[in-house]
């Protein structure tokens, strides 16, 4: 993307002033190199989002943005129900509540290394990952509805997780306002045998070492120490979320037309927040958020079980669990007044600063952990929400490195076997059912996550706390 298409405000803030049917400006947070590497479609999509009814303040773009469908991945936009605001199925995406959780193991790298291979094999065998993997859990209709209504609380009540985890999960483990009755039978059928599965593509489970600490005080508060070992799980609401996304996208294309919303792109399919379809989508999407929270809680339980085999006295505590693809009602300061807004984050992380009321007591003085996924070979980052993040982008930050190369291009460039061998020589063990999948997800196919994090920090979206390097990666 040509940076000349934007007006530069500072080193990491760029604007496109409203023109034509745009209702608000586009604001992109990135450095010049990151913008140059982005597809032109990011510009086009961010401008299209700025055209949607009821949008407040700006159409925001995070430093890891790339071409999505409708919204760019890394797009953030808030809508006001009192000003004709809309809710967009495309603004949340197919993988509803896809997100990351990081668990503290209390172990050090020296503890892991003697059993690294056995631990990798055991995690790969115990965690259902990839297409065709089978869940040990099958839900009947009543259990499905209970899971969709109660999220991680449901998982804990069934013995897949611990009570103390709940305060460390976004929404305290349960998204209020979920309506299982708004979820279709097809979506439920798609999920019946998928609880506790990791999925595929860019989803992963990693055992990681704390490689570098940037903020000792916050790292202490988070329980992160140099060479400490954590486990990070990246996955979402699986088939149920995908099916809800598919169905409501289709329905909202029709609704938008009926209520006279001129869609510049069909993928921006949306409905007024107060419409029947809008409310039904909210109920279904919140149920999908609960599905994702329950799923990550179950996977966390499986990890605990495997670790208990190798380290019988081990105690895995949850640092935090945060989603990347959601629409949440949040109270934000706009033009000097607090307003309830419907904040869409599509490939972006909620990043509440210190003293936010929703944070548990232990985290409130420092702020919310912002978990930034890397790729198999490159590092991941833990950041913390900044007070400035609210004014910058409704308390949002980037969510990962973002792809730099298509799967197509990655396959031409790398062999999965060689990547597995090269990473093994660097002490990173990859386990995956598919070497092609590994090639498509090659570390080199992703942007420099360090540059993305630096831009987010410079822009005041979140502050770096620690960098993590992978020791074991289970790919779906």
């Amino acid at each position: 993307m040509d940076p000349a298409r934007f007006t530069r405000v500072d080193g990491t803030t760029w604007r496109v002033e409203p023109s034509g049917t745009m209702r608000v400006p586009v604001i992109i947070y990135a450095d010049e190199n990151l913008i140059q590497d982005m597809d032109d479609k990011v510009f086009e999509q961010a401008v299209n989002v700025a055209r949607l009814p009821g949008i407040v303040q700006a159409s925001y773009v995070m430093p890891d943005a790339h071409w999505g469908y409708g919204f760019p991945i890394g797009g953030v936009a808030a809508f006001d129900p009192d000003r004709g605001g809309v809710i967009s199925a495309g603004g949340v995406g197919f993988d509803i509540s896809c997100g990351v959780r990081t668990m503290l193991t209390g172990l050090s790298v020296a503890d892991i290394l003697p059993v690294q291979k056995q631990l990798a094999d055991s995690l790969f065998h115990q965690i259902p990952a990839g297409v065709g993997s089978e869940s040990a859990i099958t839900l009947d209709a009543a259990e499905m509805d209970a899971m969709l209504a109660k999220g991680a609380h449901w998982a804990v009540a069934r013995g897949w997780g611990e009570m103390r985890d709940l305060e460390r999960i976004e929404e305290q483990g349960r998204m209020v306002g979920a309506r299982p009755d708004c979820v279709s039978d097809r979506a439920k059928e798609r999920q019946r045998r998928e609880m506790g599965t990791l999925g595929s593509g860019n989803h992963y489970l990693e055992v990681q070492a704390v490689a570098e600490i940037f903020d000792t005080a916050v790292a202490d508060a988070f329980g992160l120490a140099q060479d400490g070992v954590v486990v990070t799980i990246h996955c979402g609401s699986r088939g149920l979320g995908h099916q809800i996304g598919t169905e409501f996208l289709k329905e909202m294309v029709v609704t938008a037309k009926e209520v006279g919303i001129d869609l510049p792109d069909r993928e921006l399919a949306c409905a007024p927040i107060d419409s029947e379809v809008g409310q039904r989508y909210l109920g279904a999407m919140r149920a999908a958020i609960n599905c994702a929270l329950a799923n990550r809680e179950i996977l966390g339980h499986y990890v605990r079980r495997v670790f208990a085999h190798f380290f019988p006295d081990n105690d895995l505590r949850l640092l935090f669990d945060v989603s990347h693809n959601t629409c949440k009602v949040e109270r934000h300061l706009v033009d000097g007044k607090r307003r309830d807004l419907f904040v869409h984050r599509k490939g972006a992380t909620r990043a509440f600063g210190p003293e936010h009321e929703s944070l548990p007591a232990a985290l409130r003085p420092v702020g919310q952990p912002v978990l930034i996924g890397g790729s198999m070979g490159t590092g991941s980052y833990v950041l913390v929400g900044e007070t400035t993040s609210e004014a910058k982008a409704f308390s949002s930050a980037c969510h990962g490195a973002g792809r730099a190369l298509s799967r197509h291009a990655a396959l031409k460039q790398w062999s999965g076997r060689k990547i597995v061998d090269d990473l093994a020589s660097q002490g990173i063990l990859i386990r995956s059912p598919s070497t092609r999948g590994v090639a498509e997800e090659a570390p080199g196919a992703y942007k420099d996550v360090g540059a993305v994090v630096a831009a987010a920090e410079h822009a005041g979206l979140a502050r770096s706390v620690a960098r993590l390097r992978p020791l074991i990666c289970i790919k779906g």
Binding site: D39, I73, H242, L249, E267, H408, G437
Partner: protein
């Protein structure tokens, strides 16, 4: 409208994948929209596996939509749904289209992780880069981005 249940002989390859930043674009060609849809379905399955998929079980499905482009997305999403709930992969496809209605038969087998080495799972077909049209050479093409 009736659809033959006869298994088509091995289908020629007239499809391609095209690049997208995060996901995968697919395109099928054929003498008719139905043939282009069949080829696009092969392209969809090639996102998941490059291994041979044995035509052991036939699955029939129906879908409808107000126009050919929306029908194409419906078709791909219907296949994705059948893959997910049956835990199957498909290797051969037969499509009949009449007005805005489609009847399809998919032939395939349960996923064998070792043999199929599935690379990634399609979440849904999108309206991005969606195009079903008769090209200048007289052939039909059907294309869109699939979220994986």
């Amino acid at each position: 409208m009736t659809i033959s249940s006869a298994l088509p002989t091995e289908q020629r390859r007239e499809w391609e994948h095209f690049p997208h930043d995060a996901d995968v674009g697919l395109r099928g060609w054929g003498a008719t929209p139905a043939e282009a849809f069949e080829q696009a379905a092969l392209a969809l399955m090639a996102i998941v596996t490059q291994a041979e998929v044995n035509p052991e079980i036939a699955v029939r499905l129906k879908c409808e939509a107000p126009d050919l482009e929306l029908l194409f997305v419906e078709w791909l999403n219907a296949i994705i749904y059948e893959m997910a709930v049956r835990n199957m992969l498909f290797g051969r496809f037969l499509v009949r289209i009449e007005n805005d209605r489609l009847e399809g038969t998919l032939w395939g087998e349960p996923v064998d992780v070792e043999r199929h080495a599935p690379a990634c799972e399609p979440k849904g077909a999108t309206y991005t880069a969606l195009r079903v049209a008769k090209d200048t050479d007289g052939r039909w093409s059907a294309a869109c981005i699939v979220d994986v």
